[in-house]
Symmetry: C2
């Protein structure tokens, strides 16, 4: 069952309006959730609607207001997101950083206490379409699931780091977390009675395993950093970098022992015109993308792909032909919509 | 056999002077090579002397001159390194970026065609000592050893990415490459008849293996990206990011099909005073470091460490008590020094 892209955006917008957000915030959050679904990041798409609505109802997601500007020097900006909808904040921040980057060459914005900003890759095309490079990273100082290398207690969230890179064609969209997998993936696999493809988690004693249930049983296991028990110092290093950029530069984080779902955010836009030029950048990135696509694959039926390639194709297809969602996603939204007296869209 | 830190710096300086570099360049390159040794990065320390001298002799490393400024907007700078000694260029660039960051909040410098810049971590303490964050990444567009995820032909160099993070104590120094290992490590293990601790490389057909000899036999194998054949899309993504920042922004790279050992460089300094403040940054990073150190280790005899912790201790110890080098390193330098009539230092 497929739905029109805009019908899904309208559905989410109506729900968030009913939950109290204004039109601008409701539309931004809904559109970027549907964009995430279309890009294949289904854990960070409309599946979040029930959680966001719950947050708006219980006051853990702020309904009204603007981010507080803690410092603004032009090329550097710090916001307090005041637990406002993170997706709307991140889109607003990315728009500002892109404008500023055109003026200053780069713009770096850090934000403390946004709410959840969702799927990082969804924010990147707006910048790559302008021929610029976008960097976006986030962490949640109230959460911990990832162990430092050599340890068996959690310290970090998966701390994703993303970069949007313009080419002559579809952008390269890198979006990688510092842990091999995530808590939500462990939950999904566990519910489906499946296992990880490798030893991606460890139990509380530090035994690496592919069994996702160790993340749910007591004492709780931990997500392994990228590289696992073999060379997880690399993922550990990445986790420390993202914590520093998101929490350290925004001046609020684990040292404050905050509680409640939130997002600390680092974003940076780099304008190639302030370096060797936009054409020079695309010449290199297009050559690189083409080189990778032409590499002999290990399995002839699976050509080498570029990160984000499938997401761009998916997004175009969803806008042109509609979008299929996991059944469980629509089932999760239905009671929320019903509670507000909002009718579900008809499939195409 | 230990040598005084300064004696080793003097040895390298004399050799590079004899090979034609001026005092400033010779001292900078030598001091940072010895620093790399003291920090434990022994493949990127004095072991490089014979190769650098060879480069200076055959003209592949430029002896005289200054980098050409291709663009300078204040917070953004692009240099052509003209194959001048990369270590000297990188130190000079980092010094400039640190000065500029204090003025603009951040400074980003990209450089095409430097020569090899050596050990990334060695450049970071000069910035973290000023309470700022330093980012440094490099690639070599003339080299390729790392396969993209799903491919069996090489596209990338290991493309290291490093970040220096100030804390109340020793800095956190992250220095990670996008591949699990390196060509030089494969060579070292192969020479010693050893294997990688895991399946870190693959042969030309795409069979993952711990056998380093596949990197030397024909047809040549490839280094696997971080995550290997299981989740190497992550290391592949990192490799693309580093290529973009180093070659894309500097406007010279693989698209130009350059030949000969070189380094494309990206560096960025972020001054926390332009964000939430230097004290706020250190408050978060120190808390994080302390949290990690106190995490229960998987093996009680191996407490959780911070990246760069051992390097800082090693550097202090080397300066105070002297430095022990692999026998093969001094053996490699000896004929070079002899050729110039330079006597080797006496051990302590």
């Amino acid at each position: 069952m497929k739905y029109a892209f805009q019908d899904l955006v309208d559905l989410g917008t109506k729900i968030f309006l009913a939950a109290g957000l204004n039109e601008e915030k409701a539309e931004s959050v809904s559109r970027l959730l549907v964009t995430a679904d279309a890009m294949g990041h289904t854990t960070h798409g409309l599946a979040q609607v029930p959680f966001y609505v719950k947050g708006l109802k219980d006051g853990t997601m702020t309904i009204e207001g603007e981010p507080e500007v803690l410092q603004d020097r032009g090329p550097t900006v710090v916001w307090n997101g005041k637990r406002l909808p993170g997706i709307w904040l991140a889109e607003k921040a990315m728009t500002l950083a892109a404008e500023r980057a055109k003026k200053y060459g780069t713009c770096t914005l850090t934000m403390r206490e946004a709410h959840h900003i969702g799927c990082l890759a969804a924010f990147l095309p707006a910048v790559t379409e302008q021929g610029m490079i976008a960097i976006l990273a986030t962490s949640d100082p109230s959460g911990k699931a990832v162990a430092p290398f050599g340890g068996v207690e959690p310290v970090f969230t998966p701390n994703p780091y993303a970069m949007g890179i313009p080419t002559e064609g579809d952008p390269i969209l890198v979006d990688i977390s510092c842990s091999i997998s995530t808590v939500s993936m462990a939950g999904r696999l566990n519910a489906e009675g499946r296992r990880f493809p490798g030893k991606w988690v460890q139990d509380a004693e530090g035994n690496a395993t592919d069994d996702p249930s160790v993340m749910l049983s007591e004492p709780k296991g931990t997500l392994l950093p990228l590289g696992g028990q073999e060379y997880g110092h690399k993922g550990y290093g990445m986790a420390l970098m993202v914590e520093t950029l998101t929490q350290g530069l925004s001046g609020f984080g684990r040292a404050d022992q905050p509680t409640g779902w939130q997002g600390s955010v680092f974003l940076q836009v780099l304008d190639p015109e302030a370096f060797a030029g936009a054409d020079s950048l695309k010449r290199q990135t297009e050559f690189l993308a083409e080189t990778c696509r032409n590499v002999k694959p290990a399995d002839v039926s699976r050509p080498v792909r570029l990160p984000g390639g499938k997401a761009s194709v998916g997004l175009r297809a969803a806008k042109a032909e509609g979008l299929e969602l996991y059944e469980t996603i629509m089932k999760g939204i239905e009671p929320v919509a019903e509670g507000f007296g909002i009718s579900m869209p008809s499939p195409l």
